[in-house]
């Protein structure tokens, strides 16, 4: 039996051939090393993310998450729900809390679930992987697993929005959370605790609908990392990762900048530091290659 077991909600972008499929590869590797067993919620659906409100309204949107919680309770009873995507985690936890606090909506949601032959108890805690790493596993245990320290790599911890607000990691501040910096340090890298754009919004879903406005914000996030001499950014969020990595050429063309800085997931860093291969760390999933990590991974 694994040391840690969770009911796992991977989310749409983590699927094969989707935009954060590389995240999933490195998460699986990291979990092998830390002895975390992830039991996928059978037949999970999309959470609605941060843009589902407009088409979906309140009840249909909450029903999406309620279905996932109900399926988790049914198939993975007594296991805490764990999400790796910021939006998946936020939507699920938000829905759980709304249903706890609003009896009217809960009653309607029960009726909607009944149409899918499901019932919900709604007592399951809903965690983000970063929460589990920081609170349940802890930096000591992570440090003990390091075989190849990330020596000489300066890494800007870009926390972003939705893993940080409104819930965040207990004990961390909304304005200057330190957990990514602490993780980088535990892995032997050089953190930038004063990176001032660590909780700056990247535009989220509006990177699609309002690209110019979002790219102006992304430019600030990258610029500040360069100002601190960062070699790369690390993030816990698939949308943050995508937005800060893939638009660098467009931003360069529009603003005359010369950005070419890799953006990796915390799980990428951990897979490499734990001594795993470049493939296991999904370094081949980088649009902007993380060469310094490739050198360490060999």
């Amino acid at each position: 039996m694994a040391k840690y077991t969770y009911s796992f909600y991977p989310g749409c972008s983590s699927q094969t051939g989707a935009s954060s499929s590389n995240y999933m590869v490195s998460v699986r590797t990291m979990c092998e090393e830390l002895d975390i067993q992830l039991n996928e919620i059978p037949d999970w659906n999309c959470c609605g993310a941060s843009i589902g409100y407009a088409g979906g309204g309140e009840l249909p949107r909450l029903a999406l998450s309620a279905r996932n919680i109900a399926l988790s309770e049914k198939h993975n009873p007594n296991q805490e729900i764990l999400a790796t995507c910021a939006a998946c985690w936020l939507s699920t936890r938000e829905a759980a809390e709304r249903l706890q606090h609003d009896a009217g909506i809960r009653g309607e949601c029960d009726q909607a679930l009944a149409a899918a032959n499901l019932t919900i108890k709604n007592t399951t805690p809903i965690k983000h992987m970063a929460e589990v790493l920081v609170q349940t596993i802890g930096f000591e245990e992570i440090r003990a697993k390091v075989k190849k320290p990330l020596s000489g790599i300066k890494i800007a911890g870009y926390v972003g929005c939705q893993t940080n607000r409104p819930f965040g990691i207990a004990g961390e501040s909304f304005e200057n959370p330190q957990y990514l910096d602490n993780l980088v340090t535990a892995l032997g890298g050089e953190a930038i605790p004063k990176y001032e754009k660590k909780v700056q919004c990247c535009g989220g879903a509006l990177a699609f609908s309002e690209p110019d406005k979002s790219q102006e914000m992304i430019k600030g996030i990258l610029e500040a990392a360069y100002d601190h001499g960062a070699d790369m950014l690390v993030t816990p969020c698939p949308v943050c990762q995508m937005n800060t990595e893939v638009y660098q050429d467009q931003i360069n063309a529009a603003h005359g900048t010369k950005f070419k800085i890799p953006v990796v997931y915390y799980s990428t860093l951990m897979a490499v530091a734990f001594g795993r291969s470049a493939k296991d760390a999904a370094l081949n999933g980088q649009v902007i290659p993380a060469k310094k990590l490739e050198e360490i991974a060999g």
Partner: protein, 210 residues
């Protein structure tokens, strides 16, 4: 001064109908009256400078009965869901959710400005996830490029071509997704659930015609 006066009575009497409408029909709308107009939300918004009316102003406009000006505004469509306003609001208003609620309500009463890009994208997103239970990123991307017509779509697709190639090369985009792609198994149960939820919500919300 008589301290026994019930101060809620005049508030009830003079409350404008639009505030009542928002309280009754908009997600988390019952919080609107709690705003104390400090402006922290407006100052904390990452896209604040692009809002026609920042959240603080929206709250006052609701109380002033400016139904059309609020619901036809581009403002709430600028919300990136960063939750900065929520964590900073000294009164604890769930501002992000209220903005989402107003945006959705504007759609429900057909007052969204024509060609509002985020409104269009958001609807595409919902339609996409509702079809198979999971988002098909490739189809969503293509729908997004062409949502403003064919000519514009070709321009956008060309502009995005390099990013598409980058993502395909790194296996973060799969051209085969256009043919069907990921889906949940219990699609009929899923669709029944959404239909029921939509019916219940429509029955609860009765827009007032101002």
């Amino acid at each position: 001064m008589n301290t026994n006066v019930d101060n809620t009575a005049p508030a009830q009497k003079y409350r404008t109908s639009f505030l009542q409408e928002v309280e009754a029909n908009v997600e988390e709308g019952h919080w609107v009256k709690m705003c104390m107009q400090c402006g922290v939300c407006s100052g904390s918004c990452p896209l604040g400078k692009h809002w026609e009316h920042p959240p603080q102003e929206i709250f006052m406009m609701i109380r002033a009965g400016k139904r059309e000006a609020v619901l036809t505004s581009e403002s709430m469509w600028m919300c990136t869901s960063c939750y900065n306003c929520i964590v900073r609001c000294p009164r604890g208003l769930p501002i992000t959710h209220i903005m989402h609620g107003l945006a959705h309500y504007a759609k429900r009463v057909s007052l969204v400005p024509d060609n509002q890009q985020t409104a269009k994208f958001a609807q595409l997103f919902w339609n996409n996830l509702a079809l198979k239970g999971r988002v098909n990123e490739l189809r969503l991307g293509m729908a997004l490029y062409f949502m403003n017509g064919l000519g514009e779509g070709i321009k956008t697709a060309l502009k995005m071509k390099d990013i598409g190639i980058d993502l395909a090369k790194t296996k973060r985009m799969n051209p085969m997704e256009l043919l069907g792609g990921h889906s949940i198994k219990d699609l009929s149960g899923f669709k029944n659930m959404l239909k029921k939820a939509q019916e219940l919500e429509a029955a609860r919300i009765q827009p007032q015609n101002a």
